[in-house]
């Protein structure tokens, strides 16, 4: 029921350019800081940095070590070393895994799609289902369905994700045999592209659900309390005084206002969600970055660990930007304030 919106859109241009500049700045800033962080970690690790980079301890190929020392400038002062390291990161050179005998960038590129699929699916499930359940509970606050949601979310919130994943495996794979428990796709079977898609989806259900569950609980509880709070605000009284039905009041006045804090929190929780993916991938042998970092940790394969840390942080930033954009979409005040 909007009046013509075109007249305002003129001012939107500036409003959109500004956040993009801000986003890019934030992006670059975070990447640089994390790269620096990585650098510090390499030097904090016990042993000679060059052996850390080569992921070796004790007897190592002297020629390789000398070559690395020169390449990373490890005989130069720290600031120079840091500059060299940053330059490598900026040029997307994440180093070489001497354990796996492959460039880290290639290793990550191979595993990235699976992680993106998992985190994006979980994020989407958590946000949409959380908001829907939260709104239902909020407008029915005090009834049995609300109480049930409160109990379930309290339980989910107290569960370690890896354990929830294992329990789902126990129930749906071991006992019921409905869903595959491990991996990304069934191996050694000829499939049409469509079948393959279905197969991946079937493999995705359990890990994505386990990862989403906690956040679903958080968003549902938050939405619930946000809905209850908005319901007590003055403009809801105005809406009632207009003669609107309860359904219309919820749809037109409560919903949008109640979602805002949820979106904010979803952005802040993105880091935790991506961290949770590491554990979930370990549980489900999901061939993503989490699985890779697990192996790297066991082998103390620093270049891989640090590369994944960087890439995972970038994923978090991207999720932040998405929630930021959603927020702007819902709340016109942000963009209009920036433009004026």
């Amino acid at each position: 029921m909007s009046m013509s919106a075109s007249a305002v859109s003129g001012g939107r241009g500036a409003a959109i350019v500004l956040p993009i500049v801000g986003w890019v700045a934030k992006f670059v800033g975070v990447v640089l800081v994390i790269a620096t962080f990585n650098f510090i970690l390499v030097h904090a690790a016990p042993g000679d940095p060059v052996q850390v980079i080569a992921s070796q301890s004790g007897a190592a190929d002297a020629k390789l070590l000398a070559q690395l020392r020169a390449e990373y400038g490890l005989d130069k002062p720290y600031p120079v070393q840091l500059a060299i390291y940053l330059k490598r990161v900026v040029t997307l050179d994440l180093g070489y895994s001497y354990r796996q005998q492959r460039p880290v960038r290639a290793l990550i590129a191979e595993r990235l799609p699976a992680t993106l699929l998992l985190t994006a699916t979980a994020f989407l499930i958590a946000l949409t289902a959380g908001v829907v359940l939260g709104v239902l509970a909020g407008v029915r606050a005090g009834r049995w369905s609300d109480t049930l949601l409160t109990i379930v979310s309290l339980l989910l919130y107290a569960m370690p994700v890896f354990w929830l994943g294992l329990m789902l495996v126990l129930l749906f794979s071991v006992k019921l045999d409905w869903l595959p428990a491990f991996g990304y796709v069934t191996i050694g079977v000829e499939m049409s592209p469509l079948q393959r898609l279905g197969d991946i989806a079937a493999h995705l259900v359990l890990p994505a659900t386990s990862l989403a569950a906690v956040y679903l609980a958080i968003y549902a509880r938050l939405t619930r309390s946000s809905v209850i709070e908005v319901m007590h605000q003055d403009f809801i009284k105005t809406a009632r005084s207009k003669g609107l039905t309860q359904g219309n009041i919820i749809a037109r006045h409560i919903l949008r206002n109640a979602i805002l804090p949820v979106v904010t929190v979803a952005g802040m929780q993105a880091g935790a969600l991506v961290g949770g993916a590491v554990v979930i991938e370990t549980v489900f042998a999901w061939p993503g970055l989490g699985r890779l970092i697990y192996d790297a940790v066991l082998q103390r394969d620093y270049p891989v660990m640090l590369g994944i840390f960087l890439v995972m942080s970038v994923i978090v930033i991207v999720l932040n930007l998405i929630t930021d954009a959603i927020y702007r979409l819902i709340d016109p005040r942000v963009a209009l304030r920036a433009a004026s």
Partner: protein
């Protein structure tokens, strides 16, 4: 005193408190209940629950699952509390400085906090433990290092709010020195939300610790719940009890702490609670 009475009348808070006391008792009584080390083999491997002498069964190496859970409680609670103390200390100092001084100091502190909140904390914790080595202290440091940002944000918000409040300004006008104003007027009024957040941080710290142990990054000398699940997950098809019982221990402990935290929230901040609870 009023707060205590109100808490004792808070039903879910009391349920939480009862469970929590039980877990504490279990942790305290572990050496009495299970005089042998939880690492010792006490029976045949793969014994299901309720086997002779093994209430919760044994694991792949014939260790008593029940003993592991009792000793694990000590580790979980100790690490949860220590890491939270670290996180609250860092968070309160950073938040208080940002909120009290405002302006540029606030800007710098909040950028830092935002950065730490953007970084996937669990991965940072993995890196820290992997780099520094898996000891109890390092696990505590790693968890503390990734758990402080929410405390800092909250403390800052409270300090900003209170700093502008008229009773604080009145104290300034009365000639009370800044440190007295902070310690006597701002901090006490900011304390109850910090306590609530702190109690919830214990719960998340226990969860992070269990995940680290699950990934094999716990202190190898300490029996912990996460380690038990991680070690036995490959045999889950044959021996469900090895993963199920330690998980329930984590679930109950974290749930209890969360319930106590919410109970504290409702009794310490009754105004907010009533607003949210009103139906």
């Amino acid at each position: 005193m009023d707060t205590l009475k109100a808490f004792l009348r808070h039903p879910t808070g009391m349920i939480g408190l009862v469970i929590l006391v039980a877990v504490l008792a279990l942790a305290a009584a572990a050496p009495v209940l299970f005089p042998d080390s939880p690492w010792d083999m006490v029976g045949a491997p793969f014994q299901p629950p309720l086997s002779e002498g093994l209430l919760l069964g044994s694991d792949m190496l014939g260790r008593d699952v029940a003993a592991g859970i009792a000793y694990g409680a000590r580790v979980s609670l100790m690490i949860g509390i220590a890491a939270t103390l670290a996180a609250v200390l860092i968070g309160v100092v950073i938040g208080a400085v940002a909120g009290y001084f405002g302006d540029k100091v606030d800007d710098a502190m909040m950028r830092l906090t935002e950065l730490f909140q953007t970084i996937p904390g669990f991965i940072l914790a993995i890196l820290l433990v992997a780099t520094l080595g898996p000891t109890l202290t390092h696990v505590v440091v790693a968890i503390g290092a990734v758990s402080w940002p929410p405390v800092a944000r909250l403390t800052r918000a409270e300090f900003l709010r209170l700093r502008g409040r008229e009773f604080v300004q009145a104290a300034v006008c009365q000639g009370q020195p800044p440190l007295v104003v902070v310690l006597r007027h701002i901090l006490p009024n900011a304390l109850s939300p910090i306590i609530v957040t702190g109690s919830l941080t214990i719960a998340t710290s226990i969860l992070i610790e269990s995940a680290l142990s699950f990934m094999g990054l716990g202190d190898p000398n300490l029996m912990s719940w996460g380690f038990m699940i991680g070690a036995s997950r490959t045999v889950i098809r044959q021996a469900w009890w090895m993963s199920v019982f330690p998980g329930i221990a984590i679930l109950l402990t974290v749930l209890a702490i969360n319930l106590v935290g919410e109970g504290l929230n409702d009794t310490l901040n009754p105004r907010v609670a009533r607003k949210v609870r009103a139906a």
